[in-house]
């Protein structure tokens, strides 16, 4: 089968909250770029609407019972307001959907916790909240990731990009694409405290996938998901090259008491700070192919030095000149 569990040639998407501003734009764009991935939309009260290029239903259950498309739906993309996310996720889980993306930002932590416990109980895959979606150039995309013209950033290759920040997922794909590396799968996992899909979850999922040539991991302060990935690699759970960049060291230089740190840092004493995450990954790097970039753009040289082969010819090699200059 082409593509990982997150997005593959069998993926059929139902969008929950489909007629909202952002969701309807994403559906139109995605159907233009990669027709056929989105099968249906759901918005209570908008059933039967023809405003979208896919059929719209009042309930998820109706879409799953539709004789034409019902059987092809196996993935949900959630765009409802924060306080409705728990309801939407439960609707999907109860409908038997096993892969769910929560795009919504600012989901209450308490709801995220209930969602996580339900996900574990039912053995589902949930990405997010605050995910931007997933891009698999050989298959297509889920969500807004890459915008109207994803070809600037995405070309098929061997890298897996995992990032809490959605914007940086695309920025990173583009930086590598301009220097000869393509993407196998880019996944914006979101930066919520309770994350349903962590770096370690993705590494475990993809550890035996022959398409993966290397991983680029973008981390942030707070929580311990980066450390968990480092521990997993160190324990032999993932053997392919991993280049990591952890942002947020500067927050440690802010004045005493500044409330940047996450509550999680208190639990896992010494964990949560960017510098601790970096140190933990560097320890894993002693006996495993792991490199931590000091500057974000040094991820490129890290991937190169780890021996991940380029997928195509360099498009940028020289010192980049400004488009415009008014200073001499």
């Amino acid at each position: 089968m082409k593509g990982p569990v997150y997005l593959n040639e069998k993926t059929g998407v139902v969008v929950i909250g489909a007629t909202g501003r952002e969701a309807s734009q994403v559906i139109r764009e995605s159907e233009t770029l990669y027709p056929g991935i989105v099968k249906a939309g759901v918005t209570p009260g908008k059933g039967g609407s023809t405003e979208l290029p896919v059929p719209v239903f009042d309930t998820l259950s109706q879409s799953l019972q539709d004789p034409k498309i019902g059987n092809s739906i196996n993935t949900a993309l959630i765009y409802v307001p924060p306080v409705s996310v728990l309801d939407a996720v439960m609707e999907c889980l109860d409908g038997g959907i096993k892969v769910i993306y929560v795009i919504t930002e600012h989901v209450p932590i308490r709801d995220s916790e209930i969602i996580y416990q339900e996900k574990v109980r039912r053995g589902a895959v949930i990405v997010g909240g605050t995910s931007l979606g997933c891009f698999v150039p050989s298959v297509g995309r889920i969500g807004a990731i890459g915008g109207k013209d994803p070809s600037i950033a995405f070309k098929a290759g061997g890298l897996v990009i995992i990032s809490k920040s959605g914007g940086l997922t695309v920025t990173t794909a583009e930086m590598f694409r301009r220097r000869g590396w393509g993407t196998y799968c880019a996944l914006a996992i979101g930066g919520d405290i309770i994350s349903n899909t962590t770096y370690a979850d993705v590494l475990a999922e993809l550890k035996d996938d022959p398409n993966v040539k290397g991983v680029v991991m973008l981390g942030e302060p707070g929580g311990s998901y980066e450390e968990q990935a480092a521990e997993m690699i160190q324990a032999g759970g993932f053997n392919k090259p991993v280049a990591a960049f952890i942002s947020g060291r500067f927050q440690e230089r802010m004045p005493e008491g500044v409330a940047f740190g996450h509550a999680g840092a208190i639990v896992e004493r010494g964990m949560g700070k960017a510098s601790d995450k970096i140190a933990r990954l560097e320890v894993a790097g002693k006996n495993h192919p792991v490199k931590v970039a000091f500057y974000y753009h040094e991820l490129v040289s890290a991937i190169e030095s780890l021996g991940v082969p380029r997928d195509f010819e360099d498009s940028v090699t020289d010192h980049v000149k400004p488009l415009y200059s008014t200073i001499s």
Partner: protein, 416 residues
């Protein structure tokens, strides 16, 4: 959002039956404070600030002399603690402390679940407690937590005082319920004291740290008022910035945190903004602010935030930097909003001509947007360089550093 201690005591501890000392909060030593001091043999007075480690800063004092107590109250109610101005002081009964425990409830990302953290060795900073003396009970089923589970946990960790087993287990469940029902991120009691009251031992929460989830189903800002994350009141620019997004949900331009430096940041997207600020700092640039603009704001929002960012005195340079936007229109934000702000500031004589600029941006209509901004630079005599996404995002601050050293003899900070 972090609550002041008196807010936590008044609105959360009372409701969830978490025992606290008798107390009065006031902004000045009023009649209530005087009455309270008269009645108590000795009192504890604390500055009400959001910053932690008040004790170490001398902002917590025990006083038994009644006249002195009023002076101490005056001092602590108005002093600055680590640069944060007190909003008042809290005066509480002095407890006869026999033991000090540590108790908190927060989310553990390791377990992706709420965790109850307890130590019999409280009273000091949690970081200073020997890790082997701190015990964690992970809440596996968030909707059913009973005291018996906590008693099992306490027995398992060898909790020494069997008289306290039942009251402590019940108190911990109350604290957990407060955490869960108020949608907190952290509820910390340090110390949780065992106090001698007449011939009885009593558990009393002698401090209250409560961090509420900003994304809670009812926003804490509605109940407690908006509050900056910097442990200080908002500056005028920060307040002005908040107004930009109020009542207008098209994109987000109103995030602005003011810092001491001289390099203004106009950065886009959460991740992009963070790595840009980070690189600027690592490169020794003293940044003047943090910001995070995104979600395709209209030109007028960009106009307003640009003017706020550029109004800070003493700026030497500006970095306009973002990744390849998926959604945000570059012609609208940079070509219209930012350019108009620069045109108007120039016309009003408020544009500093010595500023050095670096722009790095891509996304929808970027060719047009960057060209429009360039034309604006030319007509206003602004000095700088404009890049698209061929330049890796974090090379932009390094490029700005080079230009500043070359053109204005800037001396970057030595970070290492």
């Amino acid at each position: 959002m972090k609550l002041y201690e008196h807010e936590a005591l008044e609105s959360i501890y009372k409701k969830y039956k978490i025992p606290s000392p008798r107390f009065v909060f006031a902004t000045e030593p009023n009649d209530k404070v005087r009455e309270f001091v008269e009645k108590e043999p000795a009192v504890v007075i604390k500055s009400m600030v959001l910053v932690g480690k008040r004790g170490k800063a001398g902002a917590v004092k025990v006083v038994s002399d009644k006249v002195q107590a009023i002076d101490v109250f005056k001092d602590l109610a108005s002093r600055e603690v680590y640069g944060e101005k007190s909003i008042g002081a809290l005066v509480a009964e002095k407890l006869d402390i026999k033991k000090e425990f540590y108790l908190s409830v927060t989310y553990s990302t390791k377990d992706r679940a709420p965790a109850i953290i307890f130590s019999e060795h409280g009273g000091m900073d949690v970081e200073d407690i020997n890790p082997s003396l701190i015990h964690t009970h992970v809440v596996k089923d968030v909707r059913s937590v009973y005291p018996y589970q906590i008693r099992n946990f306490l027995v398992e960790i060898g909790f020494s005082d069997s008289d306290l087993l039942r009251p402590l287990s019940e108190l911990i469940v109350n604290v957990y319920n407060a955490f869960w029902q108020t949608e907190a991120r952290l509820l910390e009691i340090n110390p949780l004291v065992v106090a001698q009251v007449a011939d009885k031992k009593k558990l009393v929460a002698a401090d209250a740290v409560v961090l509420l989830d900003d994304d809670a189903s009812v926003s804490p800002a509605v109940r407690y008022g908006a509050r900056g994350g910097m442990g200080r009141p908002l500056t005028q620019r920060e307040q002005d910035a908040i107004l930009i997004d109020q009542g207008d949900h098209r994109g987000k331009a109103g995030s602005y945190v003011e810092l001491d430096g001289d390099v203004a940041l106009m950065t886009f997207g959460g991740g992009g903004s963070t790595v840009t600020a980070e690189t600027a700092i690592e490169a020794g640039l003293r940044i003047a602010n943090l910001t995070d603009i995104g979600g395709n704001p209209p030109a007028e929002k960009m106009y307003k935030i640009a003017r706020i960012i550029l109004s800070k005195p003493g700026l030497k340079a500006v970095l306009v930097c973002g990744g390849t936007a998926s959604n945000t229109r570059i012609d609208v934000t940079l070509g219209e909003g930012l350019a108009k702000a620069l045109d108007d500031m120039k016309a009003e004589g408020k544009l500093n001509p010595d500023l050095v600029w670096v722009v790095r941006r891509s996304g929808p209509e970027y060719v047009k947007g960057l060209r429009m901004l360039h034309e604006c630079f030319v007509r206003n005599g602004i000095r700088g360089e404009i890049y698209d996404s061929q330049l890796p995002i974090t090379e932009a601050p390094l490029r700005l550093r080079e230009l500043m050293i070359k053109h204005i003899a800037y001396k970057p900070e030595d970070i290492a």
